[in-house]
Symmetry: none
Subunit: 200 residues, 4 copies
Amino acid sequence: MPEGVVDKREAILRAAGKVFAERGYHATGISDIARELGAGHGTFYRYFKNKEDIARSVVSRALGRISDALSDEDPGSAETLSQYREQVRRIGRKLFELVVAEPELGRILFYDAIAIDRAEPDLAGQAMEAAAAYTAAFIRNGQDRGFLRRDLDAHVVGLAVNGMIVTGAVRLLHVQDPAGMGQPWIHTVETLMFDGLGSS
Amino acid sequence: MPEGVVDKREAILRAAGKVFAERGYHATGISDIARELGAGHGTFYRYFKNKEDIARSVVSRALGRISDALSDEDPGSAETLSQYREQVRRIGRKLFELVVAEPELGRILFYDAIAIDRAEPDLAGQAMEAAAAYTAAFIRNGQDRGFLRRDLDAHVVGLAVNGMIVTGAVRLLHVQDPAGMGQPWIHTVETLMFDGLGSS
Amino acid sequence: MPEGVVDKREAILRAAGKVFAERGYHATGISDIARELGAGHGTFYRYFKNKEDIARSVVSRALGRISDALSDEDPGSAETLSQYREQVRRIGRKLFELVVAEPELGRILFYDAIAIDRAEPDLAGQAMEAAAAYTAAFIRNGQDRGFLRRDLDAHVVGLAVNGMIVTGAVRLLHVQDPAGMGQPWIHTVETLMFDGLGSS
Amino acid sequence: MPEGVVDKREAILRAAGKVFAERGYHATGISDIARELGAGHGTFYRYFKNKEDIARSVVSRALGRISDALSDEDPGSAETLSQYREQVRRIGRKLFELVVAEPELGRILFYDAIAIDRAEPDLAGQAMEAAAAYTAAFIRNGQDRGFLRRDLDAHVVGLAVNGMIVTGAVRLLHVQDPAGMGQPWIHTVETLMFDGLGSS
DNA sequence: TATGAATGAGTCTTCATTCAT
DNA sequence: AATGAATGAAGACTCATTCAT
């Protein structure tokens, strides 16, 4: 694929992501994206099949951003409980910073991905599964190494933990002071994961 | 408000909820709801301002169903940690059974509520806040009575815990055997809340 | 079907026929028909599936007009050659008068019917076949009764004779003095059919 | 005009004719022709003004093919009725073989020529006139030489005869066994022209 | 009160044409 | 001369909403 084509596709996805995040998938017209990009709207159809194709590509791109941000984190690297705790904190901070820096990502993944046609393939559902599998790999590593309890299904734990994270990310999009939200939130998740709520 | 009017409103909301859950908010036409209800579509406009008004009412009604299911659970009733654990399990089972029995509720709250026009008031966000406040009340009760740790913000804990629950409910809508999902899921949430993942 | 619905369909077909005849199928926009009818263009889609559906219905209606004009002519009624000659003249005059009175019919059948989507069912081709079969029935009657030669395939004769008639009708749409064209044209077709071109 | 330019024009017309015949004028995109030709679609606009110009040129080229096929037939050559009969049969066979060999020609002339924008100059109508004038010249020759009846307008006869021929050619495009259609068809036209339908 | 025919604003999508390279 | 990326006018079609009955 020639360089120019990739650039144009990228530019379209960036513009589309911005507008989808602002107005939402259904409220966004092709012409809105065209205006944002400063191009004729016929141009989109040279790079994408239709509006839904653009939207799905925007979501995929956003998922890629998340995935890139965590590419350094190897699910099998932690050897002790405290190493894993540290890893959880680090991942939490990375995700947190990513969403604070680009709230668009959150809006695209948590709002628009769900609003795109409820047909297969279910982009949001698939992404949630993939994310759970990733998190589960960490849990399974801990179970294999003996520092995490074995009586829980790693995949279910993965889903539950991700559920907390996603909820935090969504909340981030609505609070007055997103940056100040990070510390308490990460601390809460970490405490729930490793200590539980019981006193002392 | 006369009795008949309430009945008709209810009937419309029931029909609309069914169709929204099946097809999604944007893919649903007023005429689809009319067909489901067996009434002319002009009728809706005697009871609701517009399509969005119907959708918001459907979501509110669904929230009411959840709230009703938990009306017996008093956030201030648990006096000990083990009483609260038992209460958490009970609430978990209730929610679980509700969504298994009426998957519509899940689809309306987790998919359609988000797809409704991204304008204020943000129905989904408000609902999440309300739910978090409710859960936080339980946490605060435990903190006040001394059986839950005090170093966490009760509201943040409420959000995190609800995040796990919502994720489970969403997953329920997609698995082959929803009924079999309950036990492991509730157990996982309970363990995370009270014991943490550490081994022994 | 209620009376009003039939009327509206009819009114749409009349308006559409007029505009199609004037501008041609492809050059005609739904909005042109709407303007002609004095109705909103959304209205069409309550009565017809799409633009092609309207056009096919317009053509069918035009075919019906032709067929109605000839409904009195029984292919089996002529008992002698001279009776058949008279019948041919009479049919010629009827068709001639119909197209002179409503040139729209000609334009719709000979231009628009062909321009509508080249997909099956091939409206124009089917109509030509049906017309040939009708004419062939007259020929066959003459062959059976012995006053027409038997060495020609009646269906082929039907097609050839209709070919002459259609060509005349098309020409009618373009000449300065359509009414004056009738006599020589009918005479020519009659002569070719019954006498041949040879002198004396 | 340089040689190369003529070649390229020819190549474009050949490709365009092929695609128009396959899909029809309106369903054919400039890019379809470009793909068929294996050239960029911007190229067309160096040789033709626009899509309609290409189409009109394609039709003219097709008319030229017909005209070439009959270039040997001199309207004034027949000196007797039987010579003219023989000439009619020969012309019939030539046209027949041409359309069987290149059905494209038929589709272009009988379908596409009509579908091109209904603006002046009316290509199809003009062609029909020219063809009628050509046929009429044969008739007039016979009338002048005394072997054809004089009470018919030669031009009208020309149109009528051509109408039969065109109808046969159109039919050729649709039948299962085009080659087998020739003999009966030519025989029918010949019989109608010279003998009439009357028995014995 | 209930209906559903009518409406037309709004939207996606196509494709002939242009023009910088 | 040849190309094909870019463009935007044009057009078909949908559907929430209105209102006369």
